[in-house]
């Protein structure tokens, strides 16, 4: 089967997950049933198959162009979500993750695959750099989601007349601690991604730093996360401000991302 057929099935399974989570949120308190988890696991397996297939079809690691990038990012987000869920059992995260994973796979399904035979893409740096970067983005996405849940739960608590979300969302401290952990993990991956990106750039063009916009935004996002990680560790900074900074930091990452994929159409050091 060609990769886009796998991807279509993936979309169907993620759609089941997304719909089910939202329906559950409207009717009951248990967000993730064994049903949802099974659908997600099948979807994820198909998604993995799709990526593997696409790798052979493209002749290089599938992380170039909107089609590949959104599919791969969706895959990384689902992977990080499944890992977070196994460790923490926080179901409310699904409320943010499922729609986003679905949207990313949908975008991938609707955009044509970009073909390129640039020799630089054959470099073994691409799979390493891209995987690190995407896992980093996914972890930062989880931090962003937990920050969002924190702010919503805080608003519910302060309203003194809580609505449905109050009952569904985890406690503030839990949002805070999972968000903090995700930032650390994401920060680690992002750092490694930047290092491998620089090495790749040096191997391909002889310079570590070309100074273009996407590199600047990546560095700005990285600095934001340094501040966040240090603030948490040094002063025990947490709560609302950490949640806000997690959201802002992720917004910076998204900016970089949109810049790289839509504006230039080619992944990191590909030019």
């Amino acid at each position: 089967m060609p990769s886009h057929v796998y991807l279509l099935f993936t979309l169907a399974f993620y759609a089941v997950g997304a719909l089910h989570v939202l329906l559950q949120a409207l009717t009951r308190r248990k967000l993730l049933t064994s049903w949802t988890v099974t659908a997600t696991l099948i979807g994820f397996a198909l998604h993995t198959a799709s990526l593997a297939q696409r790798w052979t079809e493209a002749g290089h690691f599938p992380a170039v162009g909107l089609h590949d990038v959104s599919s791969f990012l969706g895959w990384a987000i689902v992977l990080v979500f499944l890992m977070t869920y196994t460790r923490t059992r926080v179901e409310a995260l699904g409320l943010v993750v499922y729609p986003v994973a679905f949207a990313l796979v949908l975008v991938s399904n609707m955009t044509p695959a970009a073909e390129s035979d640039d020799p630089i893409l054959k470099s073994f740096f691409l799979p390493i750099h891209a995987t690190l970067a995407f896992l980093g983005y996914a972890a930062l996405f989880v931090a962003f989601a937990m920050g969002l849940l924190y702010l919503v739960q805080e608003r519910e608590l302060k309203s003194r007349s809580p609505r449905r979300l109050y009952y569904i969302l985890p406690s503030l401290e839990r949002c805070d601690s999972i968000g903090g952990r995700s930032v650390e993990v994401g920060f680690g991956f992002l750092t490694l991604a930047i290092v491998t990106g620089m090495l790749w750039s040096y191997r391909a063009r002889g310079v570590y730093w070309t100074g273009d916009a996407k590199e600047w935004t990546a560095i700005i996002a990285w600095v934001l996360y340094v501040v966040l990680v240090l603030a948490r560790h040094r002063t025990g900074w947490g709560g609302r401000r950490a949640a806000l900074l997690g959201i802002v930091g992720f917004a910076a990452v998204v900016l970089t991302f949109v810049w790289v994929t839509v504006a230039s159409g080619v992944a990191s050091a590909a030019r």
């Binding site: 009717t27 009951r28 608590l157 302060k158 985890p170 503030l172 839990r174 900074w237 947490g238």
Partner: protein, 412 residues
């Protein structure tokens, strides 16, 4: 079979319920008498301000039901004809369903109110202590006490739930009580039970604070140390009778600053005093969650709405529990074992007669009848003791592994 006789806010006015309620001190005695006078093998009494219900296990339900009604009236010295119109009587599956619905608060005056589950638990515990709980009611108990009664409407319960939504885990959280009223004690007891540590600040009557601290397994401190205690606290319950503000906004700000780097840690303030103890403007501060009595009531109402929405889900849960319980009960039934045993014995008897016939030649009808009677008598005499004893033991109920053992012994 489970038999239930009772009355509730749906079937009777308060004066009638009051006259038939069981006082806590007399419950043990009542349980013993109930078992004896109504001739039932197991007994449990649930007596709250909204309902009085007698749960029993008995093999003949009609007679037991009547005897339970008679006992209820006799115990309280009321004539049965006067009370009878208010009573309901349920047996078997209906009784099981009712028991689950009561525990799930689906039968409560205010659907979803949380106290009922605690009252049900206590009723089972009392029956267990009195030794009137057997396998059937015990099974009902185990299935009742799991998973039901999550949401809450009482103020102290709401405070605990809010704390859980802020802190998640309450273990090792510091609770500061300012003033030593009954409400503060109730709210704090819930928190302490969840693992929090209590500190009680006492004013003029320091002994009272020390008493309260001892009851909560915490320590007492003078009111003058408010600021330093506030800095160490995660949850504050304030319920003094003071005419004005006791905890000012500056105190809260100071406490936040004094937490050093960790000042982003949330502080949960509960003001249950009228007039209020805590400056209401403190709620605007970042990381401060301040609730007064009105706020708690409003959260309670939200909980209630949420619970009613969940009532349908709870009904489905009750249905499933009833089905599972009845299946479990059926598996313990001794009747199928007896039928199977008898059929098997009869089959062996016939087979052996057929085999013997070859050597006996032709028999006259009289001889035929005598042979049949003799072999039947052997089977019956052999099966008589196990049949009687099985029925007897079954009255107290079997555990599943006992049933398996019995089947094995009988070669079934």
């Amino acid at each position: 079979m489970i038999v239930l006789v009772g009355l509730s806010h749906r079937t009777s006015p308060l004066p009638v319920r009051e006259s038939l309620a069981f006082a806590k001190e007399r419950l043990a005695e009542a349980l013993q008498r109930m078992r004896q006078e109504a001739a039932v093998s197991e007994a449990m009494i649930l007596s709250t301000c909204n309902r009085v219900e007698l749960y029993a296990r008995s093999d003949e339900t009609t007679g037991s039901g009547t005897r339970l009604e008679e006992f209820l009236c006799a115990f309280h010295g009321r004539p049965l004809p006067e009370i009878a119109p208010y009573l309901y009587r349920l047996t078997g599956a209906d009784a099981v369903r009712h028991a689950f619905r009561v525990a799930a608060s689906l039968e409560s005056m205010v659907i979803g109110e949380p106290q009922i589950l605690g009252q049900v638990k206590e009723a089972y515990q009392t029956a267990q202590d009195a030794g009137t709980l057997g396998s059937a009611l015990n099974a009902l108990r185990n299935r009742t006490e799991t998973g039901i009664g999550e949401n809450a409407v009482s103020v102290s319960y709401v405070a605990v739930e809010l704390a859980r939504k802020i802190f998640g885990e309450l273990r090792d959280k510091n609770v500061l009580l300012v003033g030593a009223g009954k409400m503060s004690l109730l709210a704090a007891r819930h928190l302490v039970r969840s693992g929090a540590r209590a500190t009680v600040l006492g004013g003029r009557t320091f002994e009272k604070a020390e008493e309260l601290a001892a009851a909560l397994g915490g320590r007492a401190a003078p009111l003058e140390s408010l600021r330093s205690e506030l800095a160490a606290a995660d949850i504050v319950i304030s319920g003094t009778g003071a005419p004005g503000i006791v905890i000012r906004r500056e105190d809260v700000e100071h406490a936040r600053a004094a937490r050093g780097g960790r000042y982003q840690r949330p502080l949960f303030l509960i003001d249950i005093a009228v007039p209020r103890d805590i400056d209401p403007t403190a709620r605007r501060l970042e990381g401060i969650f301040l609730y007064d009595l009105d706020d708690l009531r409003s959260v309670a109402e939200a909980n209630l709405r949420e619970r009613q929405r969940e009532a349908a889900a709870a009904e489905a849960l009750v249905d499933r529990e009833v089905r599972e319980f009845l299946e479990w009960q059926k598996s313990l039934d001794v009747v199928p074992i007896l039928i199977e045993l008898r059929e098997r014995a009869d089959e062996i008897r016939r087979r052996e007669i057929e085999r013997a016939r070859k050597h006996l030649g032709t028999l006259t009808p009289e001889q035929e009848a005598a042979l049949d009677a003799a072999t039947s008598a052997i089977v019956n005499k052999l099966l008589h003791p196990p049949t009687v004893h099985l029925k007897e033991i079954a009255r107290n109920g079997f555990a599943p592994e006992q049933v398996a053992l019995i089947r094995k012994l009988l070669g079934l």
